[in-house]
Point group: C2
Chain length 301, copies 2
């Protein structure tokens, strides 16, 4: 089924204990689309300035990623992010941000994308997420991400959004903040009560927790990876694998959701093995299936 | 098969967001023995002062815990520990410690325990762990815990110990320190190279990671528990469930080790639901089996 993503496109400069990558391609919609493209066609909505050094059609060449929602805005500048991961790579500092085109009007969802059934709204102001969602006629499954900034400053908008989506995908610290509850299982339950029937809490190298409104809980560790070169994009790749698998199956029963979490976990484990998209671009579906089997073996008792 | 434990017995005062418990029973050998007793007979070795307010035969009444290795030392005082768990209960402060009898000579392993096959050496100075282990004639499976203090100050003794044991059970921060490596999968591999064929890294609410010298890795999340009243003793209960299950089966193949990790995880999830031993004392084997099944359902895809 059709899968639409709206999110950022960034020029990233990343330092990790494994090296530095300057002005490489990043952004939530980029990681999401590359990850999801292993499972499903992707409809891409995002905006760049006229300074963008990346040839996105070339980046997604050979993949079923429809870039008709990509806007290159004349006179605007592309989003820029600089970050440093420390020795313990769970510890990240944002060194520099230029929002640029992201603080202007959001891109439009092209009319040819309006019939999309699966929608992922990557992190941005919840009012913009609502505006983007309004341009999709009759979605069957909508997931969104958010962050501390909106929980603290735009909670009313965020609560309106939560009543319109099926799934919130959120980091552990953000879940604690949104629910005002340190225990993640309780936090998940409190967020379920705000609207979405599915809450997925991302815990970085500790994996993820999914709380469902039928009372089921699913927990999965991250793939035990010895090679972590650059964690940037792990969360968006996770969301891409998750949504891509759901869009492929067209289902959302508990077993399908669990498989989708496992695929998201696997795809994210490839992302972190290289800078920018390098960990993802060379893998094959066969390698994804093999790692899924390895994850199953590593967690089954 | 026979399972021997040596470790501390403590008078704990614990503050958590759920309340305060003053002068309650604690200590590694206490939690370990209670947890292991659901699976296997336990031989208990530990020392208290003549001020100890607890009736240990009464505590373990009806369980197959052989207290002939319990020494009440005249003129000595029992170990005292005060700790506070903060709003985020992963964050613990030690407020007060009186080592007392723990800094005197260790207890002796009674001769009737010398033929023990499974041995757990809870955290203490590695020289003392070696001395205790020397009193067991022909153990088939020895596991030990350790802590930052010994890694920093008694590394040579600890390395001698690591060459004599089959399994190290250690916290994540300690594993990073011992291996001088932030990535836990790599840290596990480096500790395997120090001697023990099995390394288990405890990650608190994020579960555990087991690295085996045959190259297998096993990861399991903690049981997704909404009720966490007091995390004290979770790690020792985990070790007790793990070793108790191994001693019951008498095996140590990979599948048995994975099941043992799962049972350790389940027993620890009961421990944290109450202060001191309250979470453990009232449960039944049937409840343990039911929660094992729930953990399986919550992690299987």
């Amino acid at each position: 089924m059709s899968l639409l993503v709206t999110g950022s496109i960034g020029i990233d400069t990343i330092k990790t204990p494994h090296g530095t990558q300057e002005r490489c391609l990043g952004g939530s919609s980029i990681y999401f689309s590359m990850a999801a493209s292993f499972f499903s066609p992707v409809r891409f909505v995002g905006v760049i300035g006229d300074d963008c050094p990346f040839d996105l059609p070339e980046v997604f060449k050979g993949r079923d990623v429809d870039l008709r929602g990509l806007e290159e805005r004349a006179g605007s500048k592309t989003f820029v992010w600089h970050g440093t991961y420390h020795e313990d790579m769970n510890d990240r500092t944002t060194d520099h941000v230029e929002l640029n085109v992201l603080q202007e009007a959001p891109p439009k969802v092209p009319e040819v994308f309006a019939d999309s059934r699966f929608v992922f709204l990557a992190n941005t102001a919840p009012a913009l997420q609502l505006e983007l969602l309004d341009q999709v006629t009759d979605p069957t499954f909508v997931a969104a991400d958010t962050m501390n900034l909106w929980i603290e400053n735009d909670l009313d908008d965020l609560k309106r959004l939560l009543r319109k989506i099926h799934c919130l995908i959120i980091n552990d610290d953000e879940a604690r903040l949104l629910a005002d509850e340190p225990n993640l299982v309780k936090a998940g339950a409190k967020i379920l009560a705000m609207g979405p029937p599915i809450v997925i809490i991302k815990k970085g190298e500790s994996g993820s927790l999914m709380c469902l409104d039928d009372g089921e809980t699913f927990v999965l560790p991250a793939f035990p990876a010895a090679e972590v070169v650059d964690p940037t994009g792990a969360g968006d790749s996770f969301a891409g694998g998750f949504m891509g698998y759901l869009a492929r199956t067209g289902n959302r029963d508990d077993d399908t959701l669990k498989m989708a979490i496992a695929y998201g976990t696997v795809v994210a484990s490839f992302t972190i093995a290289g800078f920018s998209l390098n960990g993802l671009t060379d893998i094959t579906e066969k390698e994804i299936e093999a790692r899924l089997e390895a994850l199953r073996r590593a967690t089954r008792f």
